[in-house]
Symmetry: D2
Subunit: 348 residues, 4 copies
Amino acid sequence: MTDTRLKVGILGASGYTGAELVRLLVRHPGVEIALLTADRHGGKPLGDVFPHLARLALPDLSRIEEADWDGLDFVFCALPHATTQQVIAGLPERLKICDLSADFRLRDVGLYEEWYGGPHRAPALQKEAVYGLTEIYREAIAAARLVANPGCYTTTAELPLVPLLAGGLISPDGIIIDAKSGVSGAGRAEKQANLHTEVSEGIHAYGIAKHRHAPEIEQELAVAAGRPVTVTFTPHLMPMNRGILATIYVTLVGGADAEDLRVALAAKYDPEPFVHVLPAGTAPATRDVRGSNHCLIGVFADRVAGRAILLSATDNLVKGASGQAIQNMNVMCGLPETMGLEQEALFP
Amino acid sequence: MTDTRLKVGILGASGYTGAELVRLLVRHPGVEIALLTADRHGGKPLGDVFPHLARLALPDLSRIEEADWDGLDFVFCALPHATTQQVIAGLPERLKICDLSADFRLRDVGLYEEWYGGPHRAPALQKEAVYGLTEIYREAIAAARLVANPGCYTTTAELPLVPLLAGGLISPDGIIIDAKSGVSGAGRAEKQANLHTEVSEGIHAYGIAKHRHAPEIEQELAVAAGRPVTVTFTPHLMPMNRGILATIYVTLVGGADAEDLRVALAAKYDPEPFVHVLPAGTAPATRDVRGSNHCLIGVFADRVAGRAILLSATDNLVKGASGQAIQNMNVMCGLPETMGLEQEALFP
Amino acid sequence: MTDTRLKVGILGASGYTGAELVRLLVRHPGVEIALLTADRHGGKPLGDVFPHLARLALPDLSRIEEADWDGLDFVFCALPHATTQQVIAGLPERLKICDLSADFRLRDVGLYEEWYGGPHRAPALQKEAVYGLTEIYREAIAAARLVANPGCYTTTAELPLVPLLAGGLISPDGIIIDAKSGVSGAGRAEKQANLHTEVSEGIHAYGIAKHRHAPEIEQELAVAAGRPVTVTFTPHLMPMNRGILATIYVTLVGGADAEDLRVALAAKYDPEPFVHVLPAGTAPATRDVRGSNHCLIGVFADRVAGRAILLSATDNLVKGASGQAIQNMNVMCGLPETMGLEQEALFP
Amino acid sequence: MTDTRLKVGILGASGYTGAELVRLLVRHPGVEIALLTADRHGGKPLGDVFPHLARLALPDLSRIEEADWDGLDFVFCALPHATTQQVIAGLPERLKICDLSADFRLRDVGLYEEWYGGPHRAPALQKEAVYGLTEIYREAIAAARLVANPGCYTTTAELPLVPLLAGGLISPDGIIIDAKSGVSGAGRAEKQANLHTEVSEGIHAYGIAKHRHAPEIEQELAVAAGRPVTVTFTPHLMPMNRGILATIYVTLVGGADAEDLRVALAAKYDPEPFVHVLPAGTAPATRDVRGSNHCLIGVFADRVAGRAILLSATDNLVKGASGQAIQNMNVMCGLPETMGLEQEALFP
């Protein structure tokens, strides 16, 4: 019997998003992992860098230049920002790709160069790339060869905001996104700032008014609003491994109240398997999405007239990264969208 | 087409082990959850007590006296110690049962009464109950109607110790089990000792020389050793949600060295899907079994001649409770033993 | 030689703020702790409820009705909201009092009854009470007999906001306070919501648009602004023991920019021993005030024109409660304001 | 008036033990901090590397070769192992020194070279060095010029064991020390193993049967026992910032029972300000020593006849490092031994 499963490769398998792709894909019935690369660890079994993934029947880690692309149908690219453009430009054109870096998220190449501090190495590919916020761009994703998987903060913020802006229920002005993130979003790099001793028992804001996810959020909100948008975006680092909570402050327009927002979001997302609008009065908690591909959204009236508060919770490594990447692969390859992503959250 | 899936009930679904049974069983292809009881929460949807399990197609929580046993094939009993005996004694005899409480773990009814401070309410059932350490009692479990699922500490300690005692490689005397547990083992009851403020940023021992898992461990080690065993057992509470690490100090006999122990354990467990003996020099970490049904075992030579150190790690809610219970159900009902339990650990 | 130290009593010594008063006051050279009450624990030594405070030469816990007020000069009242008014009304008039509850914080008795759901039991005392935000009301505090110690969230938010409103640098409209708190703010009561398993590894908002600290914040901002103020205030619970970070979004007025705000706050607080405005570009972290009476303030320009972001960090049990209470006692009793409060933060 | 305070220098002020020395010494009435070195950060104010210590009136960080030793009376050396010997050998002979590294702890230079993998650079100084376990070597410390401050694990284990061995109440054979440490013991170096994501929510043993503190423990136990001792020592890394709990398993000799041990330890330590033997039945918790110089000791009978369990808790950065170093300085310089070390633990 022919094995009709997709043969997939994961470039950058020694980082947290790479490991999360493996965790999910090894139970995906439509996929076979055929390639794992990690340049610094070429030749090692995956279990050497991620003991929780030892004992799986997987290829050893290899160096990217040793990869045999012929046997592959699909590639996830979980490489650091900036190196990704050149790597992807060098891949065979028949390969479908989901890129988890920021390298193809900004449609405006000039904006990329401004925020990422270097020239864009693959502007032609940029034109082809589809932004992979699945619930918003599903049709384009289905037809895409290259999908730019959104950032974790951006996914969490855009899911509640895009339909409300598109529906004319909130003002594009004065949107404030106060986001709280777990530490895995910072990756596995050896940085003093991410030591347990530095992070535990505390919280602080960082990248205030200059975080790179701001232009990405603004790009998508502008599409929804039909005009440029500037947001206030403040990320915070806090002691949890996984999770993002975005608390979003918006101005109502056109006579809408908070319940109108909630109803509109519920109507948009009720058919969706992964985005859930909570009943009135219920606030989402990141613990309830830990390890799952779900996004939970709550809507509250503010005490200040004419304003509302949106709350959105995701697991930054799943819906904010590797889970949405697999969701996009499913859409790109004609597989059921939830395949391999059905796990419930791990609580407590 | 007939639905041949097992119809299972979970008694005590509002505790952490109950929730964990639901988390795992909703993805078990051979099972349909047909009953969920939680006396204090009768009539509520499960999502009211466990928001991470909302949105599943499940029956509402009911009171145990309202249960319709006719539609069920299998019952998990996740009730508090001491009430369980009467509940199980009242169930129809055709039902298969896996009990997660301590009520049927001690074969000696007198020992139960001594450690649990009250009369045993179902001594006849006790004779029938099979101790559910799957890797050790698989055959008896396959034939059992009532399985007493082992405790979390006991599972973690017995898996490395039983084969070594049975094989005559270590002395039954002087075994010391120093165990470190996460907080979910204490359940969801509202106790000051388990508040975040009390537990985080600290560690302490409790139940020193008088924890109820000691006689359970001794019962099984005595079977393996062929004579009575008294162990030193010190549990500690530490700030993590899930996980038990047992550091076990043993005396070698018969000329064995630590590597002999490791080889013997590897030979015993190599065919097993859930118990893994690590390579020499590798120590298990609880993070690598978080959310999974795996048990990881490491063996080290001590610097003290004639002694060895065993390390054993489990997730107390999975292999230490609900996962092993499902493993036992699979064995009792002729399903593949790993069915529904294939998830990898969630790290980070 | 006469012992001229103040004889102080702590009512409600078995809660976290009571314990924190003890921790600080035992090293205060101008104070002798002469009374500790805790109704449920009357007759026990303090070490029975707080082992970290065993071995101090302190009176045993007593029941409040057994208290001998004659020997006292000063009373800290760390009792639950609502019972406090009656207790304080019954104290001898010569006693000076700092109340850590919310019972005397709201000058408008009607507002108290609306938010706290019951009649005010001591409206005459309310007229006398001085709001104890030391840096703002120092003179009135020095003359007061009864000081209402501010809430933890309110202290953290008011310290940056009050001078800016008073100085006409920011608009009273559209102020958004997004606050993140550690768990000790919830006290030591046995609540499921505050178990380690429920709090660790997650974050969620609570009391959205209806937290009782909102009217208290608004009361003080209105005084500063000279007109009524309504704020947006969203508290969040996160896994740390101590600390509050308030991220505050404001609209600039009168041509001010963010640096003007920073300079104005620095000018206000430079003479202060406990409130510190950080250099431009530096964000405060709660870890840097853990265990200390300091408040750190940072000011950042927003990317949105005409807006700024204020960040304020305190330890909710020190500057947010017991530390500020001692600071107020020092002011009320003519002691050096920093006496007993000089400890640096505990990091890591 | 002449400033009679000791002028002290801290070599290696950018590590956690250096910061902890500063935190404690700035409130020490008999000391002035006159020198802070940190080679990588020479020229910076201390607040740049430790924001919680900004705003203190302290000299900037300097490079060690720029140090002016003339103005100093006392030096704390908090440098990495192996570089320390040469640095100290180069200091003026009139300076008193407390060294927090391991470089002078092992009296046997050969043993040092075996465990630390390189030649000893100052064997003459080694002869002069006094081992700084204050409660055991107080008299020698008072007369010493160079004190080798004990390791954190060793302090925690030796305080209960030394008097029992010296008193002939326990056997020198078969001592098992199972120790659990917070993360600050690993220092501030940028290591993947100490990232928040790697450490939180888990525990694992490390350095099993080969940790460098084993020979140091054995050296001191041998002195107490009057003959060579080999211990079993297993350190574990767990998610807390500060704290060590040692659970120690011992064999009783000479007819002693656990209560005899407890009484003997209590008799030894009752006069001591920092070491406390808890009442029978009470177990120490690390949270109760967090930030303080205390060591708490509990003694329990084992269920196994003839055996006992000792529990010992310290803060690894205080009694396990910087606090004990200051205690030693006080003894060496004729100051009251508790001066600067009176803070209670910070809980919660």
